[in-house]
Symmetry: C2
Subunit: 171 residues, 2 copies
């Protein structure tokens, strides 16, 4: 299961563009799964023309095999982003939760609730990997705003793939 979320930043207003999950596990062959991830990420980039791609970089995993699989999935998503000239960046799960909820150990439900409040939507995604992904996008937006001089920006952002991406489009 991998989630993705895209946000738009226009002036100081951040809005939700799209969030969803991909279930590459439904595809039998390992490489067809990776192809599906590559094609989906490429498709989203072509559609929304974001300019940043942010992913989650976990520090712990169930085991080395699951981390290898996660890494490969992230790798093909990163390749798709790089090929389209996007800036690629990453955040730890703790940093993401901290920046959205103020609590680095927040639950997925708490993250969703804060996102609904901040981005003003009521929808609850079928899988919370989608909202977790969206959190990565918003985390990157906050991070950038903290670092950059306050200027008027017009952009679209996206978050998460296999836990995050985030891009912004020059509109």
């Amino acid at each position: 299961m991998m989630g993705y979320g895209l946000i738009a930043v226009t002036d100081k207003k951040v809005t939700l563009i799209e969030m969803n999950t991909l279930k590459p596990g439904k595809v039998d062959d390992t490489y067809k799964r990776l192809q599906l991830i590559y094609n989906t990420v490429s498709g989203l980039i072509v559609k929304h023309k974001p300019d940043v791609f942010a992913i989650e970089a976990p520090f712990f995993g169930k085991n080395v095999q699951s981390m290898l699989k996660l890494g490969r999935a992230q790798g093909v998503a990163i390749a798709a982003a790089m090929r389209h000239g996007l800036e690629v960046t990453e955040y730890s799960p703790k940093k993401i939760k901290q920046s959205i909820t103020g609590n680095g150990n927040a639950s997925k439900e708490q993250v969703l609730k804060m996102l609904q409040r901040i981005l003003v939507f009521e929808e609850t995604p079928a899988y919370l990997d989608a909202s977790d992904a969206l959190a990565v996008a918003l985390c990157h937006h906050y991070q950038e705003n903290a670092l950059l001089p306050k200027t008027t920006k017009k952009s679209t952002g996206w978050g998460d793939f296999i836990k995050n991406n985030r891009e912004r489009v020059k509109l």
Copy 2:
């Protein structure tokens, strides 16, 4: 450190085309490293027009962080291969060593010695990750030959990236 090796298969003769290593660790930024891997793999594919790409799939790793990094590196290499329409396949380290030396626990030096004998070359690569990669290519060739009907084949093969790739070109 990642190795790659390419072989050519013409009729029943297998020959070495190229083997080498990449030191993406020399590049500071994580994403520049991944970009270097993507560009190098793409360049080799364009140059040699192989038709199969084989990688090593380790079952054990030092820790989950190193496996995530390995997975990402393999992921971008796989994306480059997929984008060029190559068949992608993988072998376990044990299977590779077994197929080259007859011993699944052979050392890198033993693998190199057998490769020098089979592919008839005297060169010792600066890093044995290059010959390990070459072993993946040859392993795939043996595997295919064991499965396919005995026909006259003309092809080029390549092996390993981050421990293996392998491709064959329709010449």
